[in-house]
Point group: C2
Chain length 196, copies 2
């Protein structure tokens, strides 16, 4: 960020008075530009004993399999965004009244929060959108575990198959962190299964 | 948004090729500036049978009572943000290991998502920060229902006192919508209490 979007004045990166964090600030009109995390919203679409996955036609992770998900947009709810992304990426329809919040992931190293909703596919009528090479249903034994695009997809699928054996689907929140050696750690922070 | 933050070129508001939504776009360098919802993160801090509330020292809703909450910042998790806001607004310490995701609210009319964590106060050592006039503990009978700052605070408190009678605290997601007549409607969209 080099120029002010209001007055085209030069931007500096400093801690404004009364704040304790570095911000982009206009040296001409003094406006402070805050930057905040983005939400990525998606679904875990189920049909009988199978899960719908999309093969990515875009970077990052071109050619890897993922759950349908994307950036939440202004003017929509988390669930509306998840349903929209499922339609866009998988050409698939899920029913809003079947959707339950299922997993939430904090990825502070890239300023993202992922939210997945557990839901049922309305029919076998699906087809890849522009961002997908292929869309397919996978049973637990068929999941391409080594070809999944993101850790949040792997963890959501692992939880789902484990929860399905108990027929209980708690809402869980995880934190993901990378060590200095680029080693990923996952922490379960909160689960609705515990009464407290 | 009038000027490009990268090149100071003039910004227009139009639908870019391959998109279906109005975006701010630079007419000189063609960068598209996406705008996305913000997360507001806070806590429901409990001490014995009481809830901690803060009296707002800032607009909007100056002088009204609220749960400690504020904008999630880059580089932190939702829970880290909620704990930070509780320290900043109420001078109060809650223990991360006691915190459970409790309510999530979609407010699409102002592009916000609220997340509250249910937690326990570590001690009676609290005091108002710069954004609070007063911080106090309230039993259910003492809650100033007509003096609460925001609907998300009222709903979270109502759920808490109802859930406490059952000793079960499901994770619930609500959508808030305003009608053309500025009438607020609240919809329970998802609850972890249901097995599905």
């Amino acid at each position: 960020m080099k120029y002010c979007q209001h007055c085209a004045g030069p931007i500096t990166h400093h801690i404004p008075p009364g704040d304790d964090k570095l911000r982009y600030c206009c040296t001409a009109c003094n406006v402070v530009f805050y930057q905040n995390p983005n939400n990525i919203v998606g679904t875990l679409p189920i049909y009988e004993d199978k899960v719908l996955l999309c093969k990515r036609a875009i970077e990052p992770r071109y050619g890897k399999w993922t759950l349908p998900a994307g950036f939440m947009e202004n003017g929509e709810t988390t669930l509306q965004g998840a349903i929209r992304e499922t339609a866009e990426e998988a050409g698939a329809v899920v029913l809003a009244e079947d959707c339950s919040l299922y997993t939430l992931f904090n990825l502070p190293y890239i300023n993202q929060v992922y939210l997945f909703f557990h839901t049922q596919l309305r029919s076998l009528d699906f087809n890849p959108g522009e961002e997908s090479l292929e869309v397919a249903l996978f049973s637990e034994a068929e999941i391409p575990w080594s070809e999944l695009a993101f850790p949040v997809v792997r963890i959501t699928l692992e939880q789902y198959f484990a929860d399905r054996r108990q027929s209980v689907f708690p809402v869980r929140m995880f934190d993901l962190h990378y060590s200095a050696e680029r080693q990923l750690s996952t922490f379960l922070v909160s689960s609705s299964n515990k009464s407290s």
